[in-house]
């Protein structure tokens, strides 16, 4: 693991990268871990509930998580997330293109040592 001293958790951007965009009124955020260890941590801590909490007030529907272990990636599909999406949305970021950056700025809590 890249961070053995884990008292304050870890910034997601330090162990992963990502990209986001729209599918109609749904938001898609892909998060790719830097290595298999980081991927295991994401599987453990970067839950659908964690993502839903970060986007409280932006994402109004459910969040589904998909796993792509072959590329160390998680994909999140968020329902009712873009104020109608496309031309309907009154937001500046109508397509959620910047939302992956918001997620990567989040800090995962310290890992419980077994």
């Amino acid at each position: 693991m890249s961070d053995d001293t884990d008292d304050e958790g870890v910034l997601l951007a330090d162990i992963a990268h990502g990209r986001s965009g729209d599918k109609g009124n749904r938001l898609n955020i892909g998060v790719v871990a830097d290595d298999p260890d980081a991927y295991e941590r994401l599987r453990e801590q970067l839950t659908a509930a964690f993502v839903a909490e970060q986007f409280d007030g932006l994402v109004n529907g459910s969040v589904t998580r998909y796993e792509l272990p072959n590329i160390n990636a998680l994909n999140f599909l968020c329902e009712d997330a873009l104020d109608g999406g496309g031309q309907h949305s009154l937001r500046y970021d109508t397509q959620g293109k910047t939302y992956a950056a918001a997620l990567l700025e989040c800090r995962l809590p310290p890992r419980e040592v077994a």
Binding site: D22, N28, G30, V31, D56, L58, Y66, G86, L90, Y92
Partner: protein
């Protein structure tokens, strides 16, 4: 996957992985007209020199229906911007937005929904943006949606007066201070039976 040499950028397992999860939805069932692709089976191999081998992707039969995206007019929207400077830039911009809300009510305009972005603070991330005050400047972008083009046009006339009768140190009025409504063309994604579609390709030499 590769690219011409000396063209900038990078083709690596990282960039290819990001592209794989871009707007993909369920990666184990990516629907296309020809195949239901399972991208969880993908294997990537970095060959160096901006080349990545992509292999192993499996698939099953395509869906019975085609996807169709239907577009239809659905009301109008308007967005105008005003730039507020320090000190208290965010507070000034918020006050201006609340004045616009008051004007909508006073004038009795038919507005379904409004939205204020404070660019420099939360224009990209909305309620997910943390506070970082004090800001040097904040761009207020105030948007509204409704069925009446005339009512939104009237709302657009309320931006310019804010430069003289609103919070001070404001500049940068959009469109001379009168942002104009634009029609909203909404999308309705739906399914169409394959039987109803006869594909035809014509190649013109």
């Amino acid at each position: 996957m590769t690219k011409p040499p000396d063209t900038g950028g990078a083709v690596t397992t990282e960039t290819v992985s990001e592209q794989l999860v871009y707007e993909i939805g369920d990666p184990s069932a990516y629907l296309t007209p020809d195949v239901t692709a399972d991208f969880t089976s993908v294997r990537l191999e970095d060959l160096g020199d901006d080349a990545v081998r992509v292999h192993g992707v499996t698939g099953t039969a395509p869906p019975e229906d085609y996807k169709a995206t239907v577009h239809y007019p659905n009301g109008f929207k308007l967005a105008g911007e005003l730039l507020y400077s320090r000190p208290d830039a965010l507070e000034k911009a918020r006050r201006a937005a609340s004045i616009l809300e008051d004007r909508i009510e006073t004038l009795g305009l038919d507005v379904e929904e409004t939205h204020a972005d404070y660019i420099g603070h939360d224009g990209a991330h909305g309620p997910a943006a943390p506070d970082r005050e004090p800001y040097n400047e904040i761009m207020l972008r105030f948007a509204a949606r409704g069925p009446s083009r005339d009512d939104l046009r009237r709302l657009g006339m309320e931006f310019a007066p804010l430069s003289m009768a609103g919070p001070p140190s404001v500049t940068g009025l959009t469109d001379g201070g009168r942002p104009s409504p634009t029609p909203i063309i909404d999308t309705w994604p739906t399914l169409v039976s394959r039987d109803a579609i006869q594909p035809e390709v014509t190649v013109h030499e």
